[in-house]
């Protein structure tokens, strides 16, 4: 048991190091997250041991729990640091985010208007909330899961359906 925990701690810290560029966490907070992820992963593994079917090495199956625990904890950590509300119209940053240059504004301005109209008219309020958070405000999906008290699968599915609707709307107008 202690050997498994030692391995889980090692995986947790290597994974935190791999994600350091995107998570920007350091010091005691990093240590806390790493150890908590390993501890919680061990508990989850022990609780689900009967679900291990031998379809992979045991360590591969077990390491998955640490990786998933880290993702959840990093999603929670997102809200522990202040995020100032975005200035101005969130839609104005969208073209840059999708690689549309100001020089080619004449090409994309009508398409962006059509996209905005589709968001307003085609999406459900729940889909619109998720689209606005993820696409316009760039909230990480796992952080949105925490904020909405949901789960990754549900948020992804709502976004998946929103993407499909928006594409259909833009296609009907000849933009994609």
């Amino acid at each position: 048991m202690s050997e498994l925990h030692r391995l889980l701690v090692r995986v947790a810290f290597r994974e935190l190091d791999r994600r350091r560029r995107s998570s920007a966490i350091a010091g005691p907070e990093l240590d806390d997250i790493g150890h908590q992820a390993a501890d919680d992963a061990l508990l989850a593994i022990l609780a689900k041991l009967d679900q291990f079917r031998g379809e992979s090495k045991f360590t591969t199956w077990a390491y998955r729990f640490v990786v998933l625990e880290l993702s959840m904890k990093l999603g929670r950590h997102f809200w522990r640091v202040p995020h100032p509300p975005p200035q101005g119209d969130e839609w104005e940053r969208l073209p840059d985010r999708f690689g549309m240059s100001p020089e080619s504004r004449a090409e994309w301005i009508e398409m962006i208007r059509a996209l905005r109209q589709a968001v307003d008219e085609e999406l459900t309020p729940h889909q619109r909330e998720i689209f606005s958070a993820i696409v316009l405000r760039e909230v990480p999906l796992d952080a949105l899961v925490v904020q909405l008290g949901s789960n990754r699968n549900a948020i992804y599915k709502a976004m998946f359906d929103a993407r499909r609707k928006l594409r259909q709307s833009l296609a009907a107008k000849g933009y994609v």
Binding site: R14, S56, T60, S71, G99, N153, R164, V176
Partner: protein, 70 residues
């Protein structure tokens, strides 16, 4: 080809996409297929479709792959 390929790619959805729950449930198997040099898309096409569209699940895949390789 439009002038906004990134947006078009983002809006594209794959009907084979199994979603996060199913993809994560078999992530350990998927990773071992990759490590064995097999093409995981042949056995788990819906997972491949999902990982190509879901940033967080793909990050978990990369993390598990790195953990097992270490």
């Amino acid at each position: 080809m439009t002038s906004w390929p990134k947006l078009e790619s983002f809006l594209q959805t794959d009907p084979r996409d199994v979603g996060c729950e199913q993809a994560l449930a078999v992530l350990h198997i998927y990773v071992e297929l990759v490590l064995a040099g097999e093409d995981p898309e042949l056995r788990l096409p819906g997972v491949t479709a999902h990982l190509s569209a879901c940033g967080p699940c793909n990050e978990d895949f990369e993390g598990l792959l790195a953990a097992v390789r270490a």
